[in-house]
């Protein structure tokens, strides 16, 4: 297989865009320098060769794609997606429904349910008693956003958040719903959002993967699957790379015990010479690529542990993210890690936190979930903001679906459960290109159906791509005779939430 050379030239329509891109690059440079010597030193150590992905638009290299990206001025340069796996209860956190109290314990009125189907897990229940939230809500910030006592830290940054209260999905169970959110299709096999972005936009960081995945340790709950950050049918270099806490943040990063970097360098020098001989014989550019991949692997052995090593963070940062942030692999530590990766212009940082699937014993369990995540989530917003990164970084918080207003299982004075509810739930976005302190969409008084401005998963994807300057109808990959998009054949841009 021969290496196709990247063509850097842009078509005439994109001239203006090119100058915008240059300006952006300059701004990034300035932002970077403000981070201090560390970032610069790392940059120079690693040189300018690209480690992962590519920086040029995908169009020329991949014949299936006929457009150059971005299509228009992007608002966002990078994204951190805080995926709350399991389906957090919107009714107990963000979607305040004060009138529920007077229906407490009564069967869900059929005028609200309108004969809609229920999920198999509560469809058999003899009664569907309305359960109003046990948690107190209050308005926060100038935007007067309602947030419950479960999320006191998030409440503090309410003025930075753009709530979408009218999200809905088609899937009713975790695996298809999560797969839908991450790949635009309920059935596994399509590329994930991050892979599409890597494919369309390439990399802004030469030294780290474009798409990095961090999974909270010990969260438990519904299983996660590596294909959620898979490349599907896209070239596999676009797949998410999971960074793990511990000795080998990236699999097989460490040399055999005792064999240090200098030793490895010596061995690789010989390997390089041997491969060079092979290249001289066969003239296959693939050998050249392999030589440089070994060099890059070698550099990663330094750059990855460096970015993963939190010891250079001052105490006040750990205080900001909470004490868990000193414990590698926790959600809090991953949020802090996300900030470090975003600072290095990793385009897509995907966090996963399991454990939001509260069918039963919701009040106790959701308290723990919120306690483990709230402070660090808010800290990430604050931290990005104070570093000037929030203006071109998009932060997304949300799960795969919402939860029912009626109690799954027995409703008591201090306990209830909630089943999966795809018909409405709340997500929020913050940062690049979305309105801060804004709330979009409305649900009915029971938080059961949407009454205003519904946002489908495809609409969310279309909007996400738009923020990165991509027209979702143009990011296409032809595979096995069909042209595929992240948004399939749907998706409407949610213009009203954009700045």
């Amino acid at each position: 297989m021969r290496q196709h050379h990247h063509h850097e030239e842009l078509n005439p329509f994109d001239k203006d865009l090119a100058s915008v891109k240059q300006q952006l690059d300059r701004r990034t440079f300035l932002t970077k320098t403000s981070l201090g010597i560390g970032a610069l030193a790392l940059g120079s150590l690693l040189g300018t060769t690209k480690l992962f992905g590519k920086s040029s638009p995908a169009s020329v290299e991949d014949e299936a794609l006929s457009t150059s990206f971005p299509n228009f001025l992007p608002k966002a340069k990078r994204i951190v997606y805080l995926f709350q796996s399991g389906g957090p209860s919107q009714l107990d956190i963000f979607d305040y429904k004060p009138s529920l109290e007077k229906y407490q314990g009564q069967d869900l009125p059929s005028s609200v349910r309108k004969g809609q189907r229920l999920t198999g897990m509560s469809a058999g229940q003899a009664t569907l008693p309305v359960a109003s939230s046990l948690f107190k809500f209050q308005q926060y910030g100038e935007c007067k956003a309602w947030v419950s006592e479960l999320m006191p830290y998030t409440a503090e940054v309410a003025d930075d958040l753009c709530f979408i209260k009218s999200m809905y999905t088609e899937a009713i169970n975790h695996d298809p719903a999560t797969t839908f959110f991450q790949t635009g299709n309920q059935i596994a096999g399509r590329p994930s959002i991050g892979a599409w972005m890597s494919y369309g936009l390439g990399s802004d960081n030469e030294n780290l993967p474009t798409f990095i995945v961090l999974v909270s340790k010990n969260a438990g709950g519904q299983p996660l699957l590596a294909r959620l950050w898979g490349n599907g049918f896209l070239p596999s270099k676009h797949q998410g790379v999971q960074f793990r806490s511990g000795k080998d943040p990236v699999l097989y990063l460490s040399n055999p015990e005792g064999y240090d970097g200098i030793d490895r360098r010596e061995m690789l020098d010989y390997l390089k010479k041997l491969n060079q001989l092979q290249l001289d014989t066969y003239g296959d550019q693939e050998i050249n690529t392999r030589i440089s991949q070994y060099e890059m692997a070698y550099r990663m052995q330094t750059s990855v542990p460096e970015v993963m090593d939190l010891s250079d963070e001052p105490d006040w940062v750990f205080d900001l993210y909470g004490k868990d942030s000193r414990d590698p692999g926790t959600y809090a530590a991953n949020c802090l890690m996300a900030r470090r990766l975003l600072e290095k212009d990793v385009k897509f940082v995907q966090l996963y936190h399991q454990g939001w699937d509260q069918h039963n014993n919701l009040p106790g369990d959701i308290k723990t979930q919120c306690k483990n995540t709230d402070q660090a989530t808010a800290a990430l917003i604050k931290d990005l903001k104070q570093r000037g990164l929030l203006e071109d970084t998009l932060v997304v918080w949300g799960g795969e679906f919402g939860r029912t207003v009626y109690s799954q299982g027995k409703l008591t004075k201090d306990n209830y459960g909630r089943d999966h509810h795809p018909r409405c739930f709340t997500m929020w976005m913050a940062g690049a290109g979305v309105k801060p302190g804004f709330s979009y969409g409305e649900t009915d008084d029971f938080g059961y159906n949407i009454v205003k401005d519904p946002v489908h998963v495809h609409d969310f994807h279309a909007t996400l791509l738009h923020l990165f300057g991509i027209d979702h109808e143009k990011l296409i990959y032809k595979y096995q005779g069909r042209r595929f998009r992240l948004t399939d054949v749907s998706g409407k841009l949610v213009k009203d939430i954009l700045t």
Binding site: M1, L51, F52, G120, M121, S122, G124, A126, A188, G189, Q222, P223, L225, A226, R227, G230, G232, P235, S236, K237, V250, L251, Y252, L253, S254, N255, P256, E257, G258, Y259, R264, E266, M267, Y270, L271, L274, N275, L277, Q278, T281, Y282, G283, D284, E286, I287, R290, Q293, Y294, M296, A297, M300, H359, N360, N361, G409, K410, N415, G417, Q480, G481
Partner: protein, 680 residues
């Protein structure tokens, strides 16, 4: 062995039939001397293990082993104690059900499929209830494919089920009619331990209720794998399913025997029962004689009891043996094929016209005599006039060796696919393949022995300019080895490879914790299972083997006919540091160390890994590297530690560690050379 057990079961079943004749005399004596009156005097029929009158909140079992039932709901709820709702009804005190809370008999009724049993009770079913479980043994049906047994209202019929996994490995029966509503009725279920629908019966008010048998295919156990999770019989509700809201229930009786009709009458209709047994033997009708005879066999005859208990043991051991046999899922035509329709705009419940199985006629009309099922489809695929199958197949084998097919779009021979680069060659190969009797081995042998394949992959300068993609095959192919080949090559060169064929999947080295997020744990193999060929490595799509997935093994969510061949830094890390490869390097290092001539040892290792002899320059570099590494390891032993300890395979400790480590570095270097990674 199964056949043997099955034959002994048959034998016992015959014994049981023959016993009737042998017992005829004894029965007549018993009848004549009026013993039946005495033996039917007890309050309950024999072998009762539970009687729950449900007349007080205590929910007491009034017979041995006594104990209490309890109310429960929600498998995963930390429920505060649920209280029974005992009410007074026209039939006395009874338990009122709410549809979500069930009555758990606690220890009563954990029956196996070889255990005979009877469950009888009085129930009042409200008219408005179309669906709802009456009783069940097992955890929530939805989660466990209804393993266990149950009696339920299903769309205004009674559904009687016993399942390993419903609806296939199960007995499923339906009553032909609904049962009376809003009045007290007596329902009973008997089961004889035969795993057959004919031995699983339903009774209303002491009379058998005819059923339609929907499935009669129970061939595995009905208890949960984990005995700690195994619940007893539960009445009135089940987790995540419909229960008996506003149903009333009382007098639940459970027996460890399939009662005879007369005994069922005893619990369901004491008046009719008394009318029979109070008769003198001379007044007994033919029908009543039959009832008594059945009763005699079931409850009195010692011979019968002995045979029955033997039969039960044989069935239990048969079940235990079957349980251990791994099951393989296969596709099977249904006895009556399900009708298929065009669904209006894809909506699953809006049928338009009916459609029938057929093939695209534009490719090749399906011969009329072929059955319209998978067999017919297979016959059609290999029909001599089929224009595609042989071409598509040879094209894929060609791709395996040349890196791309004669038709580059191997997955698409349609109008969006590519044209063949050598159409005549494709046709010739295809015809040849058909005429050889689809001989795959011969086809591959022909390809690899062809002059075209055997060309050097070194391009001629002129050719490269004229045909950069080498479509015209002016030189041989160069392809990176697949994930499996790369690992197997290292294992084979080191001598570690285990060439055993077949058997269950194996669990080679993999970093700890990768399966954790999927809610399970990877248990790494030990010994020679670590070195099985890569095709035997276990597949878990949600957390694929990292060595393989880094080298572009498919994700197996759908079929692919060509793998990507990428070139990434993560791949370099695998072949440099994955213990599989470091261990192989260590073993090769030992071999080089043991070679009489160290230089020849390096040459041999090179040949094993790359299939060619190193050039003098290559050999020179490797020997130079070896010397440098040796000097280093000699003075700094700690640097060799990882190289000498990689993997589980025992080290040859009689060798000089510094030498082995230096040679292992050389071996690892060869493993990482393009010459090993790419087949040229």
């Amino acid at each position: 062995m199964l056949a043997y057990i099955k034959s002994t079961e048959q034998l016992e079943e015959n014994n049981l039939k023959n016993a009737a004749a042998k017992e005829e005399q004894n029965f007549n004596r018993w009848l004549q001397n009026g013993s039946y009156k005495k033996s039917l005097q007890q309050k309950f029929p024999q072998d009762i293990v539970g009687f729950f009158p449900l007349n007080s909140e205590a929910l007491q079992n009034s017979v041995k082993p006594y104990g209490k039932a309890q109310m429960n709901r929600g498998l995963f709820e930390k429920h505060p104690e649920e209280r029974p709702n005992i009410i007074t009804t026209t039939a006395g005190r009874a338990l009122l059900l709410n549809g979500d809370t069930w009555l758990d008999l606690v220890n009563v009724g954990k029956f196996k499929r070889s255990d005979p049993f009877t469950i009888g009770f009085w129930v009042n079913l409200p008219k408005e209830l179309r669906n709802g479980v009456i009783f069940h043994q097992g955890i929530a049906g939805l989660l466990y494919n209804f393993r266990g047994f149950h009696l339920a209202l299903d769309n205004n019929r009674l559904q009687l089920e016993m399942a390993h996994t419903a609806p296939y490995n199960a007995i499923i029966e339906y009553s032909k009619t609904d049962v009376p509503r809003d009045k007290w009725i007596h329902l009973a279920v008997t089961y004889d331990g035969s795993s057959k629908a004919s031995g699983y019966k339903l009774f209303l008010n002491g009379k058998e209720l005819p059923t339609l048998v929907d499935q009669d295919n129970l061939y595995k156990g009905i208890l949960l794998d984990d005995p700690k999770q195994q619940p007893a019989i539960q009445f009135g509700a089940w987790d995540r399913g419909k229960g008996l809201m506003n149903g009333k229930i009382k007098d639940i009786a459970v027996f460890s025997r399939d009662l005879s009709l007369l005994e069922l009458l005893q619990i369901a209709n004491p008046v009719s029962f008394a009318a029979v047994i109070n008769k003198n033997s001379s007044d007994i009708s033919v029908a009543e004689n039959q009832l008594l005879k059945e009763y005699y066999s079931s409850a009195v005859s010692a011979d019968y009891k002995k045979i029955k208990s033997e039969l039960r043991q044989i069935r239990a051991s048969f079940n235990d043996s079957v349980e251990k046999i791994p099951e393989l899922m296969i596709m099977q035509e249904m006895p009556v094929p399900r009708k298929a329709y065009v669904l209006d705009r894809g909506q699953y419940d809006t049928y338009k016209e009916q459609v029938h199985p057929d093939v695209p006629g534009s490719i090749l009309p399906m011969p009329k005599n072929y059955p319209r099922n998978r067999l017919g489809f297979a016959q059609w695929l290999v029909h001599p006039d089929h224009p595609l199958t042989a071409r598509v197949a040879v094209n894929r084998y060609w791709q395996m060796y040349f890196g791309k097919g004669i038709v580059k779009s191997v997955e698409d021979f349609g109008n969006q696919g590519e044209m063949p680069s050598h159409p005549e060659l494709l046709d010739w190969l295809a015809i040849n393949f058909q005429e050889s009797g689809w001989n795959i081995k011969a086809l591959q042998k022909m390809i690899v022995t062809s002059a075209t394949y055997r060309q050097s992959s070194k391009p001629v300068v002129k050719a490269e300019a004229a045909d950069p993609e080498n479509l015209l095959l002016s030189h041989g192919p160069a392809n990176r080895l697949t994930a499996e080949m790369l690992r197997d090559n290292a294992l084979a060169a080191s001598g570690l490879i285990n060439l055993k064929i077949g058997g269950p999947s194996v669990y080679p080295y993999q970093p700890e914790g990768l399966w954790k997020m999927t809610g399970s744990e990877y248990k790494q193999d030990t010994g020679m299972n670590l070195y099985r060929r890569s095709i035997y490595t276990v597949w878990r799509r949600s957390a694929p083997n990292p060595t393989q997935s880094t080298f572009d093994v498919g994700i197996r969510t759908s079929c692919i006919v060509g793998r990507q061949r990428t070139n990434t830094p993560l791949q370099a890390l695998v072949t440099l540091n994955d213990p599989t490869f470091v261990e192989a390097a260590r073993l090769i290092g030992e071999q080089i160390t043991m070679a009489a001539d160290g230089k020849q040892g390096v040459v041999d290792a090179f040949r094993k890994l790359t299939g060619k002899t190193p050039s003098p320059k290559e050999l020179g570099l490797l020997l130079e590297l070896r010397e440098k590494e040796y000097q280093k390891f000699k003075t700094k032993k700690e640097k060799a530690k990882g190289w000498l300890s990689a993997g589980d395979y025992k080290s040859n400790t009689s060798l000089d560690g510094a030498q082995v480590a230096a040679n292992a570095v050389v071996a690892s270097t060869i493993i990482n050379m393009d010459a090993s990674i790419t087949k040229r």
